[in-house]
Structures are given as C-alpha cells and as structure tokens.
C-alpha cells in the first residue's frame, strides 16, 4: 500500500516540477499515438463507410472478422509489423524498425479494427431516411457516405478517441517495433515496463498515474462527444 501511495506522491512531484525526462516521454507518447490514431482514422472511417453502404457477399462475415480483431493481442501485431518492416522483410528498405515512424505504423494497424468496426456501428445507427433523401436528391455514393458520416460524427469521433486510447496504452507494438530506445522511442508504457523490471516501482507507479490521467481526459472528451 505504501508503494502505491509513494508512487502517487512521486507522480505529483514529477508532474509539478515538470521533470524533463517525464515530460519528454509523455510528449512522445502523445505524439506517436495521436499520429497513429489520425492515420488510422483517415483510412478506417471511409473504409467503414464503404463496408456499411455497399452490399456484397460475405459482408456479415467480414464484420464478424473485424469485430474479432478488436481483441488482437498487441504482441501479435507487433510481430507481424516487425516481420514486415525488418530489413529482411518486404518493407525493409524504408528502415522503419526501431523508429517512431515504425511505431506509428504498428499502432495504426493495431487500432484499425476498432475504428472500422465502431464506424460501421455508428453509421448503422443513422436514420436510413437521411441516406434515402440524399440519394433522391441525386447525391453520389461518396456524397452519401460523407452526409451520413457527418450525421454520425459524434459516434465516429468517439471511435477515433477509443482507438487513440488503445494506441496510447498498448505496450506490445511499442516494445517490439520501437525497441524502447531512450530519448527516441521510449514511451510511457515501455518506460513503465523497464522501470518495473529494474525495481524502480515508485517511478513506474508515477508514470502509470500520468498515463491514467491522460486516459481520464480522453474519457471526458469521449463523454462530451457522446453528449452525456
């Protein structure tokens, strides 16, 4: 119990004194996870729209697969992306392994199923009359998708924020792709793993509390968008 309390006190200390290493790690965590969520959103929202609006064989099955991938283990994604971007892999020439860009790619892959799946759910909840009205006014498929996404924007933004939360809190991809390089690819979660293994439990607790605080802010935003 004492360790948890000490960790809490240490966290406040580190935050108030703006400890440079903690600030740096936190900023890097936010930058990488925001970028990955943003890139994933650029791909996943239109893709979710296409899946929702097109009729095709195996659509139900595809949605089931996407939903199953919500719980994709982060280390599996890490391994997959590792094999892709390793110098001996198909994308090796881009030298992405052990770089922040590689981590962004890995996390974007990781959160894509959640974003696609929740976008589909969000769009499905929009009143079908809106789609029909747009169609009767002569809208193209793209215009219809954009109209419906606009209508469902709160739920779609919630999907993106949820993806961002998963990217921020995961450790598997960050560790395998980033390599936990100090001052370059070390983020909150990998720093926690390292400090814990080194027995610096108070510092780990402090970093954990910072991570939880960020999650709290995300959740507040999420609730706001959902109008609760």
């Amino acid at each position: 119990m004492e360790e948890i309390w000490n960790g809490f006190v240490r966290a406040i200390e580190l935050i108030i004194t703006l400890n440079p290493e903690v600030v740096e790690i936190t900023t890097r965590s936010l930058t990488i996870s925001l970028s990955s969520a943003f890139i994933a959103a650029l791909v996943c929202i239109p893709l979710g729209g296409l899946i929702e609006f097109r009729r095709f064989r195996g659509k139900r099955m595809l949605i089931n697969v996407v939903q199953t991938l919500y719980s994709l283990p982060t280390v599996t994604v890490g391994l997959l992306v590792f094999l892709l971007i390793s110098r001996s892999g198909p994308l090796g020439s881009f030298s992405l392994l052990f770089t922040p860009s590689g981590m962004i790619l890995g996390q974007a892959v990781l959160v894509s199923p959640i974003m696609i799946g929740l976008t589909i759910t969000a769009l499905a909840a929009v009143n079908p009359q809106i789609k029909d009205t747009a169609k009767s006014l002569g809208a193209t498929e793209l215009q219809i998708i954009i109209t419906v996404i606009k209508e469902a924007r709160q739920a779609v933004i919630a999907a993106v924020l949820l993806g961002f939360g998963r990217a921020l809190s995961e450790v598997g991809v960050a560790m395998m792709i980033g390599g936990n390089i100090r001052g370059y690819t070390r983020v909150l979660t990998t720093a926690i793993a390292l400090e814990t293994s080194m027995g610096n439990l108070e510092l780990s607790m402090a970093l954990g509390i910072i991570l939880i605080s960020i999650s709290l802010v995300i959740n507040l935003l999420l609730n706001r968008f959902q109008g609760r």
Binding site: T31, S35, F38, F98, T99, S101, G179, Y184, R224, F225
Partner: protein, 306 residues
C-alpha cells in the same frame, strides 16, 4: 469543439511528420543491440552520454537478451552488437553477418541466493553448486528453488554450459520439477523474481551490483574460470546487409577500445556503487581468452559493400 480538436490533431501530425523526416534525413544514428545486463547496469547510458557528445551522433540502444540481439544483427536491423556468448558470436562472424569481433570488457558471473543458503553451496565450484541445488530442490521445492533466465540470453547460455559441465542434459534439467523456474525475462527482472521467491539464480556481477540495493540475496559462488563473462562488440557486415551504418559502427568500436573508452568502462560504477562493475579488456587478453588481435584492438574492417 470537434473542429478545434481536429485542427490540433492535424498540427501535431504535421509536427510528427516533420520530426520523423528530420530524423530519417541524417545518417548520424547508430543502432546498437545489446544484452539486458549492459543496459540494466547503466553502463550503456553512461557510454551513450560521452559518445553522443564527442561524435555529435545518437547511439540508439535496443536492449534484449544476447539471443535476440544476435537475431536483430542477422536480420540487418541494427548496426552493431554488444553481446556475451562466445559460441554464437563466432557463428555470427563465420556466417558472414558480422565484420570483426572485439573484446572490450569482462567481469564474472555469480550464483546468488538467500543469505541462509538452505542448499549449502557457499564457495563450491559453479557446476557442483548447481548439481546440489537441483538435488535438494527436487527433494524440497518449497524451500530450494532456482530461477533461470530461460530466454536464450548470454547468461542463459552460460547456465546451460554449467549444467553440461555438471553432467546433466539441459532439456532434462528444465523439466525436472517445480524447483526450476524459468522467468523468461531480463537479468534485473529475474533477480527481483529470485529475491521474491528467495531462490538461487545465476547473474552477471554488474547487474547484481546495480540492483543490490533492492535485494536481500547474496553472492554464494563467485570464483572460477567457468564464471568468466566476456563482453564483445561486433559491427554488422554491410556486404550482407546493405543499409547498415558501418562507418559509425567502426567508429563506435574504435572509441570503446581506445584508452579513453577503456578508461570509461573501468571507471563506471565507482561513483555510484563504490567499485567498478566491469574490468577493461585491454591488458587482460590471456586471462579472458581473447586473441591479441581481438583484444581491445582498433578495427579497420572495410565498410565496402561489394
């Protein structure tokens, strides 16, 4: 509200891309894969500070067990390796993945355990001590346990050698009962686990000293040639893996074997722990079994690609 956030996100993304591009543009990053013992002991952070400053570059340290570190080298994902498993190092060079092998530092492994030493192994030789731990651990696994790295690291490789020397087949040892625990983690985490369970474990001296403050375990077996632990640095071969930063890797190696580098290694820990954690290789070649060509000599291996 949502527009503001979108704008903020866009701005951050733009920043990230600019930073990413800036990083990708310069060739002054050196990727080093190393063992957890060198990282956990703090030596590499210490060396990084000096090396980065002197050469105006960034040494990126990826720490993993020797097994994985060598694999990173074999895939061409890092520029230079710093490891401690002679057998696999020689194979790495022989297979053409590495340029030259350079011994840079050494220390010893310890068998550490609870102060009360329930198995009574104090001052035995290492393989005899392991045999006793196994025998007594099998009889009473609630009191006598051994925690193994179990992760293919250099320390794990040494443990296997010691079992072999004691006359046991390792695949038989690690399935012989609950007294034998495989942590699957780095040296620091394994020491913490052994400490929690009041078990015995094999550790390198440097990590043990760096962690000693948090541990109640004490060294019980600490001498003998079979516990010698030699750290080696090797550049990845650009002929096999074009794209590695060979020039900077050579500079790093030459920095480590220089008088300044060797002095740095010898002095590390004196301030923080009151004693050195590593001994420099220079001048101790015969003792540590490195040929004079390999022992802390500058490398002039060619970085030519073809």
């Amino acid at each position: 509200m949502s527009e503001k956030i979108l704008r903020a996100t866009l701005l951050l993304l733009a920043l990230a891309i600019v930073c990413g591009a800036a990083v990708a543009a310069d060739g002054s990053r050196l990727k080093l894969a190393t063992t957890t013992s060198l990282q956990d002991s703090g030596l590499l952070d210490f060396i990084k500070q000096k090396f980065d400053e002197k050469y105006n570059v960034s040494l990126d340290v990826v720490s993993a067990g020797t097994g994985i570190a060598i694999q990173y080298g074999e895939r061409g994902d890092v520029d230079v390796l710093m490891v401690h498993d002679k057998e696999r190092e020689l194979k790495f060079i022989k297979d053409g993945h590495g340029l030259e092998r350079r011994c840079i530092a050494y220390n010893y492994f310890y068998i550490v355990g609870p102060k009360s030493d329930p198995a009574g192994i104090k001052d035995m030789n290492a393989s005899a001590a392991l045999a006793v731990i196994m025998e007594k651990g099998k009889a009473d696994p609630s009191k006598i346990m051994f925690v193994s790295r179990g992760d293919g690291s250099g320390t794990h490789a040494r443990e296997k050698l010691l079992w072999k020397a004691a006359g046991y087949n390792y695949s038989w040892v690690n399935t012989s009962g609950p007294w034998y625990i495989e942590s699957g983690q780095g040296m620091g985490a394994t020491l913490n686990m052994a400490n929690e369970k009041q078990a015995y474990t094999l550790t390198d001296t440097s990590t043990f000293m760096a962690y000693q403050g948090n541990l109640t375990l004490v060294p019980l077996v600490e001498n003998g040639a079979d516990l010698l632990n030699v750290y080696v640095v090797m550049a990845v071969n650009p002929k096999k893996h074009p794209g590695v930063n060979c020039e900077l890797a050579n500079e790093f190696i030459n920095y480590l074997v220089s008088d300044e580098g060797q002095q740095l290694i010898a002095s590390y820990g004196q301030e923080k722990y009151g004693q050195s954690l590593f001994s420099p290789a220079k001048g101790n070649c015969a003792l540590i079994g490195c040929s004079s060509a390999e022992c802390a000599m500058p490398t002039n291996a060619s970085c030519a690609m073809a």
